[in-house]
């Protein structure tokens, strides 16, 4: 039965922290219902740093240098651009085992506006040395990726969704691969990252293969090539800006291998998104809604594989 992804995240973290008292949770004043248990039962491992992201990253770096295993929780857009230099130098350059859990992926904050949208953060994070970026899309993959992040001893950023999402994955998958097929098909391949995959899955049929690229960085290049080898028509879908996006990366990979394929990339623009509305409304505004995605796929299906 599906669980709330935030519950999956923080319950997993609770179990880890209960076993390893070096695990500490730092937040920039961001709460979650499922965090309350952590806060109550493990008060010596929980710190509300205050609304000070630069300091939160530096403090986490110091704690990691002293043997702690910091997990940070906050809003994605504030945990990247606000404190980018701290991420680059204090975390990335020293390769410290810090896990950052960012809520509000893509345009999840919808009508909160461009200050809260996280469509540029993936591109920024791609430049952080040694950092892995994950976009889990259901409770099972969220749980597994939190475990994976703890085991990795390297910088990790996890885009955390909210609410109950349909299960696409099982807990004992080989998450180390960074991608997996969630729907089989034979004419068009859709490479997707992030929660928008649920929108994609609502419009596909047996002719469309859908691959969840849940690890954005480092990308599993061989896995992408393997997926694309049987298809001449490929669609990439992501809730991020085009610059530095999955679409660009896939095109680069295929170009480098002289793969003569048609690749259509659906993403948000590189500019900010000024329209006010829900996540779904903004999908519609930028042709990322189910109908628009379906139209692109249908067109490519006619072209054949």
């Amino acid at each position: 039965m599906s669980r709330d992804v935030r519950d999956a995240c923080f319950e997993t973290l609770y179990v880890i922290a209960k076993k390893d008292r070096n695990v500490v949770l730092l937040t920039d004043d961001m709460g979650a219902f499922s965090l309350d248990k952590f806060k109550t039962d493990l008060p010596g491992q929980y710190f509300n740093i205050g609304i000070a992201e630069q300091n939160m990253i530096s403090v986490a770096a110091g704690m990691a240098l002293a043997g702690k295993r910091p997990f940070l929780y906050g809003i994605s857009s504030f945990m990247t651009s606000r404190c980018f230099e701290q991420l680059k130098l204090d975390v990335g350059a020293m390769g410290l085992p810090i896990v950052i859990i960012g809520t509000g992926s893509g345009v999840a904050y919808g009508s909160d506006g461009p200050t809260h949208h996280a469509t540029h953060d993936s591109a920024l994070l791609s430049t952080i040395p040694k950092l892995s970026l994950y976009n889990p899309v259901d409770a099972n993959s969220t749980e597994a990726i939190v475990d994976l992040a703890y085991a990795s001893h390297l910088p990790v950023f996890i885009h955390l969704e909210k609410g109950t999402l349909p299960d696409l994955h099982v807990t004992d998958e080989e998450y180390i691969k960074g991608l997996s097929t969630v729907h089989e098909g034979n004419k068009v391949a859709v490479l997707c990252t992030g929660a928008i995959i649920h929108t994609v899955l609502s419009v596909v049929d047996t002719e469309v293969k859908v691959v969840d690229v849940y690890r954005r960085y480092p990308l599993n290049v061989l896995g992408i090539l393997h997926t694309c080898r049987r298809f001449s028509s490929i669609v990439t879908v992501e809730e991020a800006c085009a610059c530095g996006g999955l679409g660009q990366q896939v095109k680069n990979i295929l170009f480098a291998t002289k793969g003569h394929k048609v690749v259509v990339s659906l993403s948000f623009p590189d500019t900010h998104i000024p329209e006010c509305g829900s996540r779904e409304y903004l999908y519609r505004c930028y042709d990322m809604d189910a109908a628009s995605i379906s139209k692109v796929i249908t067109k490519l299906k006619k072209r054949g594989c």
Binding site: V24, G44, F47, I49, G50, A52, Q54, N55, I57, S58, V59, A60, A61, G62, M63, A64, L65, A66, G67, K68, E85, Q86, L89, D90, A93, M94
Partner: protein
């Protein structure tokens, strides 16, 4: 070392700073010379409980050179402390050298990579908090420039350290009153600097940053609050034509100036 020996050693360190910068034709001479006595007091004065062999000891004291641009003084101190051969200093700034112009964590004795200002205090606060959680007795020292106090992140960290009563944290501000282009008070007033730190909940001690005895005394004492030592210093200290003169943030002495500096530091 006695105070006299420490003072003599500081002069040796300053000479190394000069030679490194002249040889590489690059470096931050003014700020290296202003903080030399502070570094010598910490390392050779027996304040820091560290040793090259025990650099992975969990309970070692930590030092963070937050004003990473003054690394020439740090390198000379680390070399003379035994972290790497003194001859290595000749490689400073040369192609392929481990001694680049800002300290990198791979260099023996360097705890944290620095160079971008405003990072060291937050990192130091994190190390100090971890020490308290683990009930370890080590102390953490962070050396900042006074111009670094312009960075907002410094004050985020200052608030944090005071709130968490990080008495095992000592921040030293190298108050040489200059930044690259200006005097601090002409560019953007820092004063009353001590009162700012006090208002943030720190124990503030002002000292002459070139007086070994005063430095040793401040560094040895702790209270319930984190300590900030505002060390009043002279930018370019030890080289006659450079002391307190603007323009020596990262200028390199040339021609006769090199010989005068060598005489001053002999």
């Amino acid at each position: 070392m006695t105070v006299e020996e420490l003072t003599a050693h500081a002069k040796w360190v300053r000479r190394q700073v000069l030679e490194m910068i002249v040889s590489a034709n690059k470096g931050h001479i003014g700020g290296s010379l202003s903080c030399t006595d502070i570094l010598v007091a910490l390392y050779q004065g027996g304040i820091l409980a560290i040793s090259p062999k025990g650099i992975t000891d969990l309970n070692r004291d930590r030092f963070i050179m937050s004003k990473g641009h003054a690394c020439e003084a740090l390198y000379a101190v680390l070399a003379s402390f035994g972290f790497f051969p003194i001859e290595e200093l000749q490689q400073y700034g040369q192609p392929g050298s481990m001694l680049m112009s800002h300290p990198w964590k791979d260099i023996p004795g360097v705890e944290v990579s620095t160079g971008a200002l405003g990072h060291g205090l937050g990192i130091g606060a994190g190390i100090a908090l971890a020490g308290k959680l683990d009930e370890l007795s080590y102390r953490t020292f962070v050396l900042m420039g006074d111009g670094e106090c312009y960075e907002g992140s410094v004050w985020e960290a200052a608030m944090f350290a005071a709130h968490h009563k990080l008495c095992n944290l000592c921040c030293i501000v190298d108050r040489n009153r200059q930044i690259t282009l200006d005097f601090t008070e002409d560019c953007l007033r820092l004063e009353p600097l001590a009162r700012k730190w006090e208002a943030f909940g720190w124990r503030v001690v002002e000292v002459n940053g070139h007086d070994m005895e005063s430095l040793l005394q401040v560094f040895s004492s702790t209270t319930e609050a984190p300590t900030v030592c505002i060390a009043n210093t002279i930018k370019g200290k030890g080289i006659s034509y450079m002391e307190d003169q603007p323009g020596w943030h990262h200028a390199v002495p040339k021609g006769d100036m090199v010989e005068i500096a060598r005489k001053d530091l002999s």
